[in-house]
Symmetry: D2
Subunit: 484 residues, 4 copies
């Protein structure tokens, strides 16, 4: 059976969002609201762990924040003035629930809860070593490796053990951890995934994006720096730099698609960057047309930028249903041939006989683009010129993003001309890599020392990929890494 | 507890959508898809009844179409080549489920299922009379009155009994009925609620809006005319005109807000009408500003029209969360004071220091407008000029729309100046009644013989309101009318 | 799949129990407890309807009383000082829920709820007539016929209409009805099903069996007489005799199996009657043996009576699991061949090498008896002499008991000798009809005018069977009668 | 709220049953049936883990075996020819589910599942040590200690590590473990809890009681000996004796109450022992009476033995409802005063005016006895002489039985005369300790070297109680031991 997300399946998917708060009477309620604002970063499971000064409380569930964390009884059970939370994309069944974060362990030095956005690229190797020494894993999550490294560390304090653990892991991590002594947040030395800090009255908040601050009326203070470790406790906020300094490489795709347009990521307005991308796209790839039409909702800001730069009117040529947030299985194979349009519908009365510039943020498998172009033609569009607000996506991500295998990435298999033929558009063009960096305020991409992780476009991975190396040498990597 | 729809509560709400199909192997699956496309017309319950040549099958449930009608087992149980379906807004609990349509009765002349969009304005009086003669009601729905009128009619055939029944009811009804002999569709003599006909291969479809045809790839044939009754059977399609002819008065608010922008209602593109409304609004109420900002999603087409007419750039100054389709109860009273922004968030980086024209489709209670204006100011907007894409909503609807009591309608209590003061905007203006008619291609509103039902703006109701008269004379109207 | 009730399927099954109370603050709670004590009379659905002086409240559910009626919220919602309840055996699915009693209708003369034990033997004919006149049925229950007869009666008062309705029905009914004015209880003129009256403080109770009085500490007053109608209201208790007097014919099988041993039915202790039956059985069919072994639990009282009369020791040669109250589906066909002993297990250490008198209350299909005898032999029993505490069951019941078709009744197909060969016992004997009447204090069965309905043994039905006659003449009787 | 088990609360409760099978195509189905037959040993949760040669599969759930393990899909998912299962009494909520056995861990040496009946009396001390070395516990179960001892053992093979682990634990354990190599079963050196072995075709079975063999038609081979460890693998069955030999001390209460009457425990028929207990009781405590009446069902075998020895007739003076297997919460406090008789009802017609010998297996808190005596008196009994089929229960059990704190044990607070006054019987007597041993075939209890663990009667505990000692010295023992 097909889901009603045939198009959504054709997106890269951010796999996690984290949130933490220390010092508010309403800690768990605020965390639930913050996670709700981060729901786009992970729709399949959510969890909150709180600390009330005496005990830790945890509630984790498959599904959305709404429905799982909006009951008074649930929130009241998550007692205390401190809590962390997590949203995640993951698989189904029992396996999934035990992987839902925050993960928690009762260590000899006290309770320890952890929420992780990113992916540890040597998790499998570490896991095998820990297992040999007698550590028993509860989940298949790479995140649990950190917990066991903390538990078995011989450092004196819990904080020292935590730093000792992080020094052994490689890859991407933005973490929110909860202990009896305080809230610990940390961003890996390259700062691959985002993490920000805010304030709500006397309380401090850490979150993956600023929208999670906005939703509760908190003030945005600043980004947590790559390689920075923050401890929030009754003694206030401490900032540590436990790692050797490195030149940051934050993920460029956060600006293209992952983050919400109303977020500020590493100091830049996502909406403004996307409009600037649209303007770059218009400058790089001129075309004569009647309307600029976005693929809603992800293509809208770039389409507005494109329309303003080109002077071609912005119009809603495609209408998106409000009611596809939840999976809707097509009832029965028998209707598959109907070409069901559950998510997107063409605005036929508008586009019949018109020449369209169609804007989308990226092409992954290409199946969506193919269907959209076909739908617009059937609705009477005269010409469809597709413009993509990023370079071709040619490589897998190993830092916490759900990408298909390389061979399923259309741009890894075809030239742009072949892609155009495949999606049956009248023309197809992508933003250049330099154009993307320009939209972010750079002069272009400095190949020797790029400012961002753009591995999905360039294949230039900023860290070692130990588990991938093992996989290629030994042909196995069991159990499979579940990204956190 | 507040829901996360504080703003949605501030909309008039269409109360039903209907769908019917005769002659397709996949009747129930197609009906489920059609209802999904009509979900915006009723989010709280859905039902499908099918006929397989031997027996009727029915599945009705509280909640959305997705989740209730996407299991293979459910669809398979709804066997047959003919079915009708219904989505509805209604109240909670056991009472609600028995009111979920299609309603069904095993009459002496065979099974009879009915799905109704509209409201019968003499339902209570008819119900009391039927009850006195021994009819036992299963629901509190006005729609059930029609079934008992059919059951007790002394006319010879089922079709004659149905017409006999409809001649006794007053008000608004667009109906899809299923019998052993055929699918019957009918629109009341004034055509208050919409109803269209389409074709899918050999099968005929009736539906509240054309988007329900689009979703399954069906061809749009035409609107069913006010006062027309259609019978689809193995003998093909018959069109009857059983009622005395009247000048039609279709609901004007379908164009303003209820229908989806990609639908065609009584021959007009809803998106185009809304853009025309925006243009009229710009012409009627000029203002100097930096950006035209819609309240998403309902204000978007009018805002595009306004921007194009005025030359002021269209910008997304407010971002709407994708994840508020389902009710999210605010967890705990304790966070109410935070001014939680679950549905709408200001795009602060964009609007700080700017003068905004804010476009919404209507003002009902005014609570949304007040919050939106306040949110924009807190995000730094310099000026907020609110423009409403319809005249002031001053009267209740008795034809199948959920309106608050008159005293809760802001425009029934205040002048426009007072409303502006209430919502704390820099200026406020509404579209004129003539402007609205102009956007629909008229020269203006002809007071003696208006082309539309605009009672919510004008108080000019096109039918008698028998139950309301009884209510005012006798002070009671039990049991309460549940609109269908 | 087989259920774990292979033996239970081999019992006649009482199909309903009723309970009613008027005048207690805790009406619904008392009703739930009373129904729990009547659970053996119907395990598949239960319902309670209450009246609080202003409104009726109803909760009906598939499943046991425990689990459905033990939540405070459910009981609190069933507000008021009066309520009736019902337990029933019935089929599954949506169809079933709408058949779950009490049935309720809002008549012109006020609300009317009804709970029925028995079966109306002309329900189908009445239903067809009512349907032709415009009555719409909500259920397939025979009981609903009574409601429509009341609704369409032209008698002046609700009580008169109810009596008018009952005069048109034939068959078995013990009824508890709730109206705004009072609790009405009525037993058909032959008194086929039992009904008793009790008192709890100021409140009056009616119930199918005295155990429902015991459970709440109520005082047993007396049986309601055949043909008697009781009205309990604020004016106290009235007894009416609306029917022409007839000689009573209460069901004899209530004493053999249906009623609980601790109940008093029409003045007789069920336990004492069953022990007397066992003694008669011992006198009629002597056998040399080491132990008297009951099939638990139904055969226990007769076995004690048999043991005391014969002097052979009573022993638990078969142990019954406590955990088969709920259906347990055998997991997978693969274990069917194992001869799974989920319900009964032989006490091998006891019976190895012994001669047993095995006592059961009746033989229906014979499948149980066959398995039990085989199980005892495999456990080492030397001889198994089966003795049955009733005459051979040769005829179907049409008065509210679930009996298999005649052709599936072993005794309708075989002689006693053939039955003995079939179940592979060393000998088999049944109680004589006269013996059964003697155990009930008679001299024997008076063929011309028997004191009980013993149609399941004799085929002598005490009422007309109109629907059966129609069925045999016209070959159909749709929709199928669902016993109440 | 009171449950409907007011009397059950007044029993000692066996806390677990285990089952294991190796070598059958239908392993999980057979395990489900076996657990169903052991349901009396633990009603609140159940679990099965299977091994299919490639992977382990596990399903664990709160509630009964029926309802959780009778779906084909569940059983099919538990693929493989080997599996173990567990039923348990435990507390509610999330905490409980993670404690439901079998517990499972993926060790470096492969998967390891364990099901445990008993209790480890130094679990807390071992847990603290393991935690200090970096082991992270997933449950609060004492059983998990064994897993971590295995995981961190430095012995070469998994079997050696398992034996190494067991040598460190003290207390009671009958274990069924599943590994990739075979099924391992082990009984602690004293054999406190029972464990038997059987054969089903080519497969071998281990189970807590023989009834679990009977239910699937398996052959009973023998008891597993105290201190014996059995390995069943593709190489057949091996028996090891890894511990220093000790004189066995199996639990005597299995014979009094825990085990099913149709089981054979350490070679003795439980039914026969209970009848012998009843006969001893009659000899030790003569009384003149009309009837011997058991408290059903636990008092029945002893009552039969008493009746046969004394010549006083055995009668069912108390009837037990079939429908109290599941918890039934009394609906509302309001009916508590009614003295609700949900479980037991007096057979008033029988006992009015009679002198009764009332037989029960034991007295724990005494609340049941008090209510039963009162119920019999209210039903008209002339005299009630209570006789208990075991010595007074004066001490807590630390070997896997749920006993109240000592101060809640009636016999720990009162003399027999005081107890008689408390329960308001006409007389009260307990079986002597020597009488109990005589019923088991001994000459009496040999104080210096008793054959059984009778600590609940004598306070003579056969092992060290390390955690209890720590508790008394340090005043804490956190987290609380959850018995397995």
């Amino acid at each position: 059976m097909l889901t009603t997300h045939p198009f959504d399946d054709d997106k890269l998917r951010e796999e996690c969002g984290v949130f933490g708060i220390w010092g508010a009477d309403t800690a768990a309620a605020v965390t639930a609201l913050g996670l709700h604002a981060l729901q786009h970063r992970g729709q399949e499971a959510a969890g909150i762990t709180s600390w009330d000064g005496h005990a830790f409380h945890s509630h984790r569930a498959m599904g959305h924040v709404a429905g799982n964390f909006d009951k008074d009884s649930v929130i009241r059970a998550l007692a205390g003035r401190a809590s962390i939370g997590h949203v995640r994309y993951s698989t189904t069944g029992e396996t999934a629930l035990r992987n839902v974060q925050p993960l928690f362990a009762e260590l000899a030095s006290g309770g320890f809860a952890i929420a992780h956005n990113g992916n540890i690229s040597n998790a499998m190797r570490l896991r095998r070593e820990l297992n040999r020494r007698g550590s028993i894993f509860q989940s298949t999550s790479d995140t649990e490796v950190i917990i066991h490294l903390v538990a078995t560390s011989t450092q004196p304090s819990l904080l020292d053990r935590f730093i000792d653990a992080l020094k052994q892991v490689e890859g991407a991590y933005s973490l929110a951890c909860l202990t009896e002594e305080g809230l610990i947040a940390c961003r890996d030395p390259l700062g691959i995934r985002p993490l920000v800090m805010g304030r709500l009255g006397e309380a401090y908040i850490v979150a993956s994006e600023t929208v999670a601050l906005d939703v509760v009326g908190a003030t945005y203070l600043r980004s947590i720096e790559p390689g920075e470790l923050i401890v929030v406790s009754e003694q206030g906020v401490r900032s540590l730099r436990p790692f050797a300094p490195e030149r940051p490489r934050p993920c460029i795709f956060e600006h293209v698609y992952f983050s919400r347009p109303d977020s500020i990521v590493d100091g830049a307005s996502v909406y403004s960057v996307r409009k600037a991308i649209g303007a770059e796209l218009a400058r790089e790839n001129e075309v004569e047309a009647d309307y600029v039409v976005p693929v809603p909702d992800s293509g809208v800001p770039a389409a507005i930028g494109y329309a303003q730069e080109s002077g071609i009117p912005f119009e809603l040529g495609i209408i998106r249903s409000h009611y596809v947030g939840r999976t809707f299985i097509q009832p029965g194979d028998q209707v598959r041939h109907l070409g069901v349009k559950l998510k997107h519908n063409a605005n036929s009365a508008l586009i019949a006989g018109k020449r369209l510039v169609l804007i989308d943020d990226s092409i992954v498998r290409g199946t969506t683009s193919l269907k959209i172009v076909q739908m617009l033609r059937e609705a009477g569009a005269r010409e469809v010129h597709m413009r993509i607000a990023s370079p071709p996506t040619r490589h897998s991500c190993f830092y916490g993003v759900d990408t298909p295998e390389r061979k399923k990435l259309l741009a890894a298999q075809m030239s742009v001309a072949e892609m155009n033929a495949y999606i049956k558009a009248d023309s197809l063009a992508f933003l250049s890599m330099d154009g993307l960096y320009r939209a972010l305020g750079e002069d272009g991409r400095e190949a020797a020392d790029p400012r961002y992780c753009d591995a999905c476009f360039s294949g230039d991975y900023p860290t070692r990929l130990t588990d991938q190396e093992d996989l290629q040498q030994h042909g196995e990597l069991l159990p499979a890494a579940n990204y956190g």
